[in-house]
Each structure stands twice: as structure tokens, then as C-alpha cells.
Amino acid sequence: MSSLASAFADLGRKVMDAAAKLGRGHLLFWKMLLGFDENLRRPSLLIQQLFSVGVLSILLIVLSGFFVGMVLGLQGYYILSQFGAEATLGVMVAASLVRELGPVVTALLFAGRAGSALTAEVGLMKATEQLSGLEMMAVNPVRRVLSPRFLGGIISMPLLAAMFSTTGVLGGWFVGVGLLGVDDGTYWSQMQVKIDLHEDVFNGVIKSIVFGIVCTWIALFEGYDSVPTSEGLSRATTRTVVHSAFAILGLDFILTAIMFGE
């Protein structure tokens, strides 16, 4: 009897813990949003974050985009040439990049490259009591530390995703036109006929903005909410990557269903 009661008690505690964590996460989200005016007052904080979150990710994003585009070019050519439809290679490469792979792969790479770094940075600030120190000096750590990082992530993500898609299209062009002999004119013109500015490009950008918000939010919250020990910090960093990946892929399905489902 008592073991049954304690099993229910464990379940209840887990649910309550999860609900409390969700609540803390939402509170932090609104506090960070309310702190956005700090970015106008001290733009150098935002620039610092755009540098560490955005500029330092460029090389990874551009290289990955180029290789993903080249693989799409190779695989697409192999499949399409079986139907004699190599002319639509450009459409296939561009549509899959702009709609799906650009925003999603960029967000996954971003979570690994920038999200984990944000969690570790904020978590270590908490563990070494720098955040408490700021509070002692009557400086709000959410406004001063977290808001610039949040806005920096939200601005960086769509720009990085656009770079990913662009280099991917160029990578597909390099393989398809340069190596496999698809006609240069058809590659671009078929793409321009089929890819719609609203339907494809804008929706891709909206996706990447949503992913930017979610990824940065998860990373900052995990760091801010981490247990201030070395083990707690390592767990928080792992959770950032795992939860971001789940959130990105799950949200991608929902967004795709809303945007492209008829």
C-alpha cells in the first residue's frame, strides 16, 4: 500500500516539477522580451553577442550548406536522370533547401554550435555567482546578460539560414552544372519558375525566425536554470542540445503542416 502511494507521489512530483520548469521558462521568456530595450540603450552588448553567436557560426554554416547542396545535386541527379528529368534538378535542390533543409539544418547546427556555448556561459556565470553579483549591484542580470543574447540569436538565425540555403543552391549548381553537365540556363530558369517568393522563401524565413526564438530561449533558460555544479552544468548543456533538436524537428512538422499542407 505504501509503495503504491509512493509511486503516485513520485509521479505527482515529476508532473509538478515539469510544470514548474515550464512556468519558469515562460517567465524568463517574458522577462527577456521586456528587457529588449536594454539592447537599444547599450547596443555594444548586442553587437558582442551577434559576433559570438552569428559571426563565429558563419564558417560552419557556409561549409555545411555547400556540402549539403552538393549531396542534393548528386543524389537528385541520380534519381531525376532515371526519369529523364535532369532539367528539374535546380527546382529540387532549391525547394528542399529553402523550405526544409535550410531552416532545419541551420537550427540543428546552431543549437550545437551556439546554443551549447550560451548554456555553458550563462551556467558558469551562475555557478561562479556572477549573476548574483550583478543583482547585488542592482543590475538586473536578465536584462543585462540574457536579453542581448536572446535578441542576438533571433537576429542571427534567419541570416544564417539564408546563407545556408544560398550556398546550398550554389553547391548544387557546382555539382549539377559544373560536374554532371546539367544546362546552366535550365538549372536557374526552372528554379525561378517553380519557387514562389511567398510560399517558399518567406515561409522558410518565418520558420528560421521561429527556430531562432526557440533555440536561443531553450539554451538561455537551461543555463539560467542549471544546478550550479560541474555536473549540473554538463547536464544543462546536454539538455540544451537534446531539447533544441526535439523542439526544432517537432515544430518543423507543425509549421510545415500549417504552411504547405492544403
Binding site: S44, I47, Q48, L50, F51, G54, V55, I58, A94, V98, I155, S156, P158, L159, L160, A162, M163, S165, T166, V169, W188, M191, Q192, V193, K194, I195, D196, L197, H198, D200, V201, G204, V205
Partner: protein, 154 residues
């Protein structure tokens, strides 16, 4: 101080490169350069059978795209399909006795509407109707007719 300046410059380059990439997608990858969405006048054509024509299918004249299909509906009185074509404004000289036909691009390609220019001096305006149309070629019907005529020969 120069380190700060350096970082600011790199961030500027990053934002500029991102915006260039967005423009590249808008202009080179998508159809922004090719079409002016929504700007145009609409005319109507009635077909016995439109086959697989969908909204946004291209409308061409002499092979050049001059507009898109903007709406498709069914007239229950005359049993015809009513197709609304939106033609870009600068193509304002389409004779009112032009012939609208439904073609297929390639064997498996998408269907589009081709206009053959007539000889009239009166040009189509907003809301006019194309009088002469030819329905889509439905492959099953053609094969059926072919088999039927073969059977009659024997």
C-alpha cells in the same frame, strides 16, 4: 578600442552577407524577377473540360508567359468550367477573337493555357470573355477513340 571596432566591422559584414543571401533567394532562386504578382487584368474563358489545369498555371502567348490562371469554377447551368485568366497589364493587345487552348508541357509536364492571337482590331479588356476555346486533351479519351476506330476498321 580597435578590437571593439574590429568586432563591429565583422558583425556588419555578417548582417550584410545575410541580407545579400536573402536577396539572392528572393531574386535569383524565386520568381520575383519573373512575374509581377497581382498586377493585371482578368479575362474569362469557358472550357468543356479543363483536364488538369490548376490555379496559378501559366498562360502563354507564342510560348511567352503573359499571365496566370487566377480562379477556376464550374457553371452548373451550362455544364462548363469557367477559368479566369489574369494577364499582366503590359500585355494589353490581345485580339478578342483569340483562341484559348489547353496544352501539356512535355509528356508528364504541367498543363498550361496557350492563347493563339486572332485577327480582330478590338482588344480584350478587364472582364471580357474569350469566345473560342479548345478543351484539354484527356489521354484516356484519345486512347479510347483510337481503340474504337481500330475496332471499326476490322
Amino acid at each position: 578600442m580597435s578590437k571593439q571596432r574590429n568586432m563591429e566591422m565583422l558583425v556588419g559584414v555578417f548582417v550584410a552577407a545575410g541580407i545579400v543571401a536573402l536577396f539572392f533567394m528572393a531574386l535569383q532562386v524565386s520568381n520575383l524577377g519573373a512575374s509581377s504578382n497581382g498586377e493585371g487584368y482578368s479575362i474569362e474563358a469557358r472550357f468543356d473540360n479543363i483536364g488538369g489545369i490548376k490555379v496559378k498555371a501559366p498562360v502563354t502567348m507564342a510560348g511567352v508567359k503573359i499571365g496566370r490562371v487566377s480562379a477556376i469554377s464550374y457553371d452548373k447551368e451550362t455544364f462548363e468550367a469557367v477559368v479566369t485568366l489574369t494577364i499582366e497589364n503590359h500585355y494589353d493587345r490581345i485580339p478578342d477573337d483569340s483562341f484559348a487552348k489547353i496544352f501539356t508541357a512535355g509528356l508528364l509536364g504541367e498543363q498550361y493555357i496557350g492563347l493563339d492571337a486572332g485577327g480582330s482590331d478590338i482588344y480584350l479588356k478587364q472582364g471580357d470573355r474569350l469566345q473560342m476555346t479548345q478543351s484539354a486533351l484527356v489521354l484516356e479519351e484519345v486512347i479510347g477513340q483510337f481503340l474504337f476506330s481500330k475496332a471499326q476498321e476490322n
